[in-house]
C-alpha cells in the first residue's frame, strides 16, 4: 500500500517532524513503513507500507494520519464534504435490506445530469490530479476516479451504478440458486443461494462488497448515477469472494471489518467529485440501517479498563514513572475512544494501597476499530502508542528444574554414534510418492494421502524414511559424489485419513569408500559388514539382553521389498524387530539409475527408545595376565558363524572373557566348500594367574565345542 506524506499533512498541518522521522515513528508503532521515496521538492514522500491484517482501518491516508495524530498528540482535521443542496424528489429511492443478518447499512444517493468523462482537475484544490499523479494511480473516468479517491482517502469501498439501468429500487439479499450475474470483469457467473448480492426488483446488480455488475456499470452515456456506500458482514463477503475466486480491494476491506459510520462520508466524497463535472443531487441520502448490526459495530457497549491491569500485563517501563493514567487517556482518546473515569472499588483500591493509585474507565470504542473489543485490546493500544522500546528488559523468576524430553538422551546417543561412524545428518522431505510409499511402508495400506499435495511426487506422508534416503543417496551419486554416508532422524506416518500415527525413525544410506582419507592406505569400499557394525554400535547404546540379526526365506515375504533378499538382515533387540538394513535391491537400484552398490537401512526408533540408554558402569580390571589362544579352524560353508559363536558361549567358562572371529579367508589348499577361520580367545581370571593345566583343558573344550558346531582344528 502506498501513502503520500503530502496527503497526510493535509489533515495534520502542525505535524512537527520530517518524513523520515514520521516513517520511523509510525513503524515503531506497528504502522510499518517499508520504503520511503522522495517525490521531489514540495511533493513530500511516498511511503511503501506493510500493515498487518488486523489494522485494516489504517490502510488508507486518513487512517495513517490518525495514527500520526495519536503519536504526536495532534488534532486530526475532520473529514467533511459540503454537498450542494439536493433538489427534492417525488419519492425516496427505494432501498430494502432483506439480508439483515449480513448487511448492516446501505446508503444510496441519486445524482442526475452528471457528465461522465475525464476527471479533470475539478475537485477541491485539484487533489485528485495531484494525489493520483504522485501515486501513479491511473485516471480512468470521473466515476471510477471518485470511488478510487474515496478508497485511497478513507478505505471505504463505494460503487456507482447507472441509475437508469436499475429497475424499481435496491434490494440487498441472498441470491437464488442458479441466478446469473455478469460481473465487471466480464465473467458470467452462476450464483449460489449463499451469495450476498445487491439486486434491483428484477435482477442481481452486483456481488455485495466484492464486485459490481456489468450491466449497470457507468458508461460514457450514463446521465444518472446511484452511489452506493454500505456495510457488509465480513464472513458473508469472504464466503462470496472465495466461492467466486475473487479478491478485490472492496472484499479485502469488508472481510476485515469496515467502518459502519463511513458510508455517508464516502458517499459525499464520490458525489462531490462527480458533481464537479455538472449535475445535481436528487432527494436526501437514503440511509437504511440494521440496528442489531449497528449495536455490534458503531454502538458497541463500552469496555471496562483498569490501570492496574495495564501495569500487571505490561510490567516495567524504562521511565520510572510507569504508565500514568493520563497517558492511557491521551493515547486512547487520540485513537478515537471516549473514556469515562469510574470509581475504583474499595476492595481493589485497598489491594493496591501503597503501590499505585489505580484508575478505571468505561471506554467507548470507535466504529472503525472492530479489532478492539476487549480490555486487552485497549492495553495493546496503550503499549503500542507508548512505544514497545519504552519498556525495560526484565526477566521472570526462574522456573522449576530442567527436564529434558524423555528420549532426548537416546536421540543424542543415536546421533553421536552415527556421526562418529562418519555419517552426516540429513533432513529429507516429509512427503513421498504413493509408489515409494507402497514399496517401503512397513504396514501396507496404512499410508496417508494429502488432500492438496505440492506435487504427485509428494502425494503422501512418508511411511518410511527409506524413500527420502534413497533420493538423497541417488542425488549425490548422480552428481558424481561417489562417497555417500547419510543418516536422518525423522517422523514417519501411518494410519488413515481419520487418524494418523507418528513415530520417530532412523534411516541411513551409504555408498563408495569408507570414511577414511589416507595417502598411504588404499581406500576400501564400504560393505554390508561396515553397515552392520554401525547398526551394532547404535544398538549397543541401549541396554538390552539380546541383539541378533536374521534373514527370512524369500517365500516368507517378510523382507522389505527394497532390500536385496540375500544381502539384508532383520535387526532384533530383545526379540523385537527394530529395523532392517542391507544392500539396496538391484531392481530398485536400476529403477533409480544407480550402478553403485548402495547400502541402506531403517531403524524403528519408537521401539528402540523403549529400551533404556545403557549407562556405563565400571568393572574391576583384572591385574592378572590375560592369555590369548588362537584356534585355526576349517569350516564348512554351510556352517554359520552364529553356531560357532553360540557353541563357544554355551561352554560358560567364566575365564573365557572374550572371543571373536579374527580372520576369515579362503585357502585354495582347502576343499571347495570350506574356508579357514581364525578364532581368537582370551582367558583371564580376576583373582589369579592362570595355570597351564586349566588352559589346556579349556583349549580342548573349545575345540570340542566348535567341532560339534561343524568346524575342525586345522592340522
Amino acid at each position: 500500500m502506498k501513502i503520500l506524506t503530502q496527503w497526510l499533512r493535509a489533515f495534520l498541518p502542525a505535524l512537527p517532524v520530517n518524513d523520515a522521522q514520521l516513517a520511523e515513528d509510525l513503524t515503531l508503532r506497528g504502522i510499518a513503513v517499508e520504503g520511503i521515496y522522495d517525490l521531489g521538492a514540495g511533493n513530500g514522500s511516498l511511503y511503501e507500507m506493510d500493515i498487518t491484517t488486523n489494522r485494516v482501518d489504517a490502510m488508507n491516508h486518513y487512517g495513517v494520519a490518525r495514527e500520526a495524530a495519536a503519536i504526536y498528540g495532534l488534532t486530526l482535521s475532520p473529514l467533511t464534504f459540503e454537498l450542494p443542496k439536493p433538489r427534492p424528489s417525488a419519492k425516496d429511492f427505494s432501498v430494502k435490506i432483506e439480508a439483515e443478518d449480513v448487511c448492516g447499512r446501505f446508503t444510496a444517493r441519486v445524482l442526475r445530469g452528471v457528465k461522465i468523462g475525464d476527471s479533470r482537475d475539478w475537485f477541491a484544490d485539484a487533489e485528485v490530479a495531484t494525489y493520483f499523479g504522485l501515486l501513479e494511480q491511473k485516471k480512468i473516468s470521473n466515476a471510477v476516479d471518485a470511488t478510487n479517491f474515496a478508497w485511497l482517502l478513507m478505505g471505504q469501498p463505494t460503487h456507482a451504478f447507472d441509475l437508469d439501468k436499475i429497475e424499481g429500487g435496491i434490494v440487498v439479499r441472498r441470491a437464488r440458486k442458479g441466478e446469473k450475474l455478469k460481473t465487471l470483469d466480464g465473467i458470467e457467473r452462476t450464483l449460489d443461494a449463499e451469495d450476498l448480492i445487491v439486486a434491483d426488483h428484477g435482477k442481481p446488480l452486483g456481488l455485495a462488497g466484492v464486485m459490481g455488475g456489468w450491466d449497470t456499470m457507468i458508461t460514457p452515456e450514463t446521465k444518472n448515477v446511484l452511489v452506493e456506500a454500505a456495510w457488509f458482514d465480513p464472513m458473508a463477503v469472504r464466503r462470496t469472494a472465495r466461492r467466486h475466486g475473487l479478491h478485490t480491494d472492496a472484499s479485502h476491506r469488508f472481510e476485515r471489518g469496515a467502518d459502519f459510520n463511513a458510508a455517508p462520508v464516502a458517499s459525499a466524497i464520490v458525489a462531490s467529485i462527480l458533481l464537479a463535472g455538472g449535475g445535481h443531487i436528487e432527494g436526501d441520502l437514503v440511509d437504511v440501517r440494521v440496528p442489531a448490526i449497528e449495536a455490534k459495530t458503531a454502538q458497541r457497549r463500552p469496555v471496562a479498563l483498569v490501570l492496574s491491569e495495564v501495569r500487571r500485563l505490561l510490567g516495567t517501563t524504562i521511565d520510572q514513572e510507569g504508565i500514568p493514567a493520563e497517558t492511557v487517556e491521551k493515547v486512547l482518546t487520540a485513537l478515537g475512544c471516549e473514556l469515562t473515569m469510574q470509581q475504583v472499588s474499595a476492595l481493589r483500591a485497598s489491594e493496591l494501597a501503597g503501590q499505585h493509585e489505580d484508575a478505571a474507565w468505561e471506554v467507548t470504542l470507535p466504529s472503525w476499530r472492530l479489532d478492539i473489543e476487549r480490555e486487552i485490546d485497549l492495553i495493546e493500544e496503550v503499549a503500542r502508542v507508548y512505544g514497545y522500546n519504552g519498556f525495560a528488559n526484565t526477566l521472570p523468576a526462574f522456573g522449576e528444574g530442567v527436564k529434558a524430553l524423555p528420549w532426548a538422551e537416546a536421540e543424542a546417543a543415536v546421533r553421536a554414534t552415527l556421526r562418529a561412524a562418519g555419517f552426516h545428518e540429513a533432513i529429507a522431505s516429509t512427503f513421498c510418492s504413493a509408489a515409494d510409499a507402497a514399496l517401503t511402508a512397513p504396514q501396507p495400506g496404512l499410508v496417508v494421502p494429502l488432500g492438496n499435495p505440492l506435487s504427485e511426487e509428494a502425494g503422501v506422508l512418508r511411511p518410511s524414511l527409506a524413500p527420502g534416503m534413497l533420493t538423497m543417496v541417488a542425488g549425490n551419486l548422480h552428481r558424481d559424489v561417489s562417497d555417500v554416508r547419510l543418516f536422518e532422524l525423522g517422523t514417519v506416518f501411518s494410519g488413515s485419513t481419520e487418524k494418523v500415527e507418528e513415530r520417530p525413525a532412523l534411516a541411513f544410506g551409504a555408498a563408495g569408500a569408507l570414511p577414511e582419507q589416507s595417502t598411504l592406505h588404499a581406500a576400501r569400499e564400504i560393505d554390508f559388514y561396515d553397515i552392520k557394525g554401525v547398526v551394532e554400535q547404535v544398538l549397543s547404546r541401549f541396554a538390552m539382553d539380546s541383539m541378533y540379526f536374521d534373514r527370512f526365506p524369500a517365500e516368507a515375504g517378510l523382507t522389505p521389498e527394497w532390500l536385496h533378499p540375500y544381502r539384508s538382515a532383520r535387526i532384533a533387540a530383545d526379540g523385537i524387530t527394530v529395523g532392517w538394513f542391507g544392500q539396496l535391491h538391484p531392481r530398485e537400484a536400476a529403477a533409480r539409475k544407480l550402478k553403485e552398490t548402495v547400502l541402506v537401512g531403517e531403524i524403528y526408533l519408537d521401539r528402540l527408545y523403549k529400551l533404556p540408554v545403557r549407562k556405563p558402569a565400571a568393572r574391576e580390571v583384572s591385574r592378572f595376565q590375560p592369555v590369548r589362544r588362537d584356534f585355526s579352524l576349517v569350516v564348512d560353508k554351510s556352517v554359520r558363524w552364529e553356531s560357532i559363536d553360540a557353541a563357544v558361549a554355551a561352554l560358560g567358562i567364566p575365564e573365557l572373557v572374550e572371543w571373536r572371529a579374527r580372520e576369515l579367508f579362503h585357502d585354495p589348499k582347502l576343499g571347495a566348500n570350506e574356508y579357514a577361520l581364525l578364532l581368537g580367545a582370551t582367558f583371564q581370571a580376576p583373582d589369579r594367574t592362570l595355570r597351564d593345566d586349566e588352559l589346556q583343558e579349556w583349549h580342548a573344550r573349545v575345540v570340542e565345542a566348535v567341532s560339534k558346531a561343524g568346524a575342525r582344528l586345522r592340522s
Binding site: N393, P396, V448
Partner: protein
C-alpha cells in the same frame, strides 16, 4: 669373562661382509636383550666397546687390517653402522634410549597429509535448533514436542484463528485427504507452526509453564531461495502469575545476546498474531555489519528475527476448558516463535534454503 673371539674373515666381497656383520649385529642384539641390571650393562659395554678387549676393537684390528684396499671403504661403512647400533643398544639398555643416529634412520616424511577417520556432521538445522533450545533450557525451560499432523482445533481454532478468519489465509496449509466431511475442528492438516504445542502443553499442565518447543512445520508454499514447504520453528511459552511484557522483552533480549553475542541489540515492533496480544516483531542489530548498514540488512542496520507477544486471553480460555487455572485475570504469559532456517542461513551464510533438505554430501560436510 672373556669375549668370544672374532672369527677371521677370508672373503671380502659384499655378500660375505653382509653376512659377517649381520651375524655380529644379531649377537649384539641377543646379548643386549639378555641384559639384566646395571652390572650387566657395564659388562655389555666392556664386551663390545671395551677399548682393549672390546669385540669391535677386535673387528677393526682383525678385519680392517686384513681387508684389501678396495673393500676397506665398504667395510668401514658397515663397521660404523654396527658401532652405531651397538651404541644405540647400550644407550637403550642404560636408559638413555636409542642414539640420534638410530632414530634418524627411522625418519619419515611428516609433510604428507595425515590419515583422517572422517566423522559425520551435525545438520546445521539440528545444530541451530539445539543452540536455541539450549539457551532457553538454561533459563529453566522444559523441552516439549508435538505432532506434525495436527487438527484444525490445535493448529488454528485454539490459537484464536476462528473458522473463516482472514488470518488463516496467511498460512497456506497442507491438508490430509478426505477431511471435507469431518467437523472443522477435527480436520487433519500438517501443522503450519509449532504454536499448537502451546495448547497441548497447557491442557496437560496447570501453570506455571516454561517450555521451549522445537519442531518441523509445513506450508503449501512454492519453493524459492528463502521459502520451503518444509521448515523448522522453535516456539516458547512462559505462563505464571505476574509475567509481563517487559519480561518478554528481557527474555528475548537475553536469548538473542546468548545466540548472537553480547553486542547484539534488540528492538520490538508492534505486530499481529491472533494468539498473542500485544504482539511484537523483534529485530536484532545486524550481525554482519553490527548495525552500520550493509547489503544483508538492506542498509537498515537491523534484521527481523522473530515474532512474539503476550498470550491472548482467548487462548487461555481454550486452555481453561481443561485446566481452569488458566484464568487470564490471575495469570499471564508470553509466547514467541522463530524460524530456524532463517537463523541458520544467517549464521552459516547459506543462500538457498533448499540446501538444507537435499542431503548433498558436499554441503553437509562443511558443518563437521
Amino acid at each position: 669373562m672373556t669375549n668370544e673371539a672374532i672369527p677371521n674373515l677370508t672373503a671380502f666381497d659384499e655378500a660375505s661382509l653382509d653376512k659377517a656383520f649381520a651375524q655380529l649385529e644379531q649377537q649384539a642384539r641377543d646379548s643386549a636383550a639378555a641384559i639384566d641390571g646395571s652390572e650387566a650393562v657395564e659388562a655389555f659395554r666392556l664386551e663390545w666397546l671395551g677399548r682393549k678387549q672390546g669385540r669391535l676393537n677386535d673387528v677393526s684390528g682383525k678385519w680392517l687390517k686384513a681387508a684389501p684396499a678396495e673393500a676397506k671403504k665398504l667395510l668401514g661403512q658397515k663397521f660404523n653402522a654396527l658401532k652405531a647400533t651397538v651404541e644405540g643398544l647400550l644407550e637403550q639398555a642404560s636408559g638413555a634410549g636409542p642414539s640420534d643416529a638410530a632414530l634418524a634412520a627411522e625418519a619419515i616424511d611428516i609433510t604428507l597429509p595425515g590419515t583422517k577417520r572422517l566423522t559425520g556432521a551435525e545438520h546445521p538445522i539440528t545444530k541451530t535448533l539445539n543452540e536455541i533450545v539450549g539457551v532457553f533450557a538454561a533459563l529453566g525451560y522444559l523441552v516439549g514436542v508435538g505432532p506434525e499432523v495436527e487438527t484444525d482445533f490445535y493448529n488454528f481454532e485454539s490459537m484464536n484463528f476462528p473458522p473463516g478468519h482472514p488470518a488463516r489465509d496467511t498460512q497456506d496449509t497442507l491438508v490430509v485427504a478426505n477431511q471435507e466431511r469431518r467437523p472443522l475442528r477435527d480436520r487433519l492438516l500438517l501443522r503450519t507452526h509449532t504454536s499448537p504445542v502451546q495448547m497441548r502443553t497447557m491442557e496437560k499442565q496447570p501453570p506455571p509453564v516454561r517450555i521451549v518447543i522445537p519442531g518441523k512445520v509445513h506450508r503449501n508454499d512454492a519453493a524459492d531461495a528463502t521459502h520451503s514447504p518444509i521448515f523448522h520453528q522453535v516456539e516458547g511459552l512462559c505462563v505464571d502469575a505476574n509475567i509481563t511484557f517487559s519480561d518478554l522483552k528481557g527474555t528475548l533480549d537475553h536469548a538473542m545476546k546468548a545466540l548472537f553475542g553480547s553486542s547484539a541489540k534488540t528492538r520490538f515492533f508492534p505486530s499481529f498474531f491472533p494468539f498473542t496480544e500485544p504482539s511484537a516483531d523483534v529485530q536484532i542489530s545486524c550481525i554482519f555489519c553490527g548495525g552500520k548498514g550493509c547489503r544483508k540488512c538492506k542498509q537498515s542496520g537491523w534484521i527481523e528475527l522473530l515474532g512474539c507477544g503476550m498470550v491472548d486471553p482467548a487462548v487461555f480460555a481454550f486452555a481453561a476448558e481443561k485446566q481452569p487455572a488458566y484464568d487470564p485475570k490471575k495469570i499471564s504469559g508470553f509466547a514467541f516463535g522463530m524460524g530456524v532456517e532463517r537463523i541458520a542461513m544467517m549464521k552459516y551464510g547459506v543462500s538457498e534454503i533448499g540446501q538444507f533438505y537435499a542431503g548433498d554430501m558436499r554441503f553437509l560436510s562443511q558443518f563437521v
